[in-house]
Each structure stands twice: as structure tokens, then as C-alpha cells.
């Protein structure tokens, strides 16, 4: 999916949304969810290609595989959380959006814990005594 297709789809969706929002706000919300999901799915193929290259590079640099997979997981959590937050904010539910944001932050922190432990361990090795 090229940029021209994304822009065209976005414009058409926006105009339909403007019509629907006056009559049926629920339908407008569902349509915006569908648009978000379609764009996400369309972009995931390209994302996979990027990640493939990054994996190759990190393999050549002989970086511990654990770090890279943790990074990937954090990226995935951030993407999904941002997706839900955007939809909740579109619907005007700021409170729900904040909670999703909070949950995503906590989950990312938990995922990042092993990396932090590894950093501290290497620091301990460096320090004499």
C-alpha cells in the first residue's frame, strides 16, 4: 500500500465520517476503528521487512538475542497501546485512554526489567572489588 492509497483512503474515510457523525456517532466510531485497523494491518507487512533487516544487523553485530527480542516486544506493546489510546480519545473517553496508557507503561517497564538487571550486572563486573 503506497502513500497515495493511504492518503486517498484517509480523505474518503474522513468525508464519510463527517456524514455519519451527525446521524450515527456509534457508526462513525466503528468506522474510524476499522480505518485504523486496516492501516495497521497494511503497514505491518512493511514493518516485518524492517524488523527482518534489523534482526540481521543485530546478528552481525553479535548483540545478545535476548535484548533484541525484548526490544521487539516493547515495540509491539507500544504499537498496540497507542492504537487503543487513539481510538478511546477519538470517542472522547479520556479516562479509559489514560488507563490503557498506564497499563502499557507498566507492561513495558516489566518487559524492560531483564535489560536493567543485565546493565547492573555488567556494571558490577566493571567495578573493581
Amino acid at each position: 500500500m503506497g502513500i497515495a492509497q493511504v492518503v486517498g483512503l484517509a480523505l474518503v474515510t474522513t468525508i464519510i465520517l463527517m456524514i455519519l457523525r451527525q446521524q450515527k456517532p456509534v457508526m462513525a466510531l466503528v468506522l474510524s476503528i476499522v480505518f485504523t485497523v486496516v492501516i495497521f494491518i497494511a503497514m505491518m507487512g512493511k514493518m516485518a521487512a524492517i524488523l527482518e533487516v534489523m534482526k540481521e544487523i543485530s546478528c552481525r553485530a553479535a548483540i545478545n538475542n535476548m535484548f533484541f527480542s525484548t526490544l521487539l516486544k516493547i515495540l509491539g506493546v507500544a504499537y498496540l497501546g497507542e492504537f487503543a489510546v487513539a481510538i478511546c480519545q477519538d470517542a472522547g473517553e479520556q479516562a479509559v485512554a489514560r488507563k490503557v496508557e498506564f497499563a502499557a507503561k507498566i507492561i513495558i517497564a516489566v518487559l524492560a526489567l531483564p535489560i536493567m538487571v543485565a546493565i547492573l550486572e555488567s556494571l558490577m563486573e566493571l567495578m573493581p572489588g
Binding site: M1, Q5, L9, V12, T13, I16, I19, L20, Q23, K24, V26, M27, A28, V30, L31, I33, V34, F35, V37, V38, F40, I41, A42, M44, M47, A48, L51, S69, L72, K73, L75, G76, V77, Y79, L80
Partner: protein, 64 residues
Amino acid sequence: MNIDIIFRIAGIGILISVLSIVLKQAKKEEQAEMLTLAGVVVVLIIVVQLMNQLFTVVRSVFNL
């Protein structure tokens, strides 16, 4: 297939809003409400399938 689904949802939405206006004009308020509810449920089923697809894709890409 992907773009198809947006226009399908938009079509259902516009159709339902027009039909519910017609029903309201004919003094059938509760049937208009039922129609709205049914439309939301139908659309929601499509959306849930789409979300499932998204989560599967994200999970496979990011190894979650």
C-alpha cells in the same frame, strides 16, 4: 479485501441512518432504535474479526 471492508462499514452506516430517519418519520421510534442496535451488532461482528486479524499479525511480527 482490506479497503473493501471500510466501504462496507460506511455503506451499512449510511443505510442504517437513512432507514432510521424514514422509520422515525413514520412514527416508529422503537423500531428505529432496534434497527440501530442491530446495525451496531452486525458491524461489531465484522470489527471483532478484523481486530482478531490485527492481533494475530502484530503477535507474529513482534513475537509477543
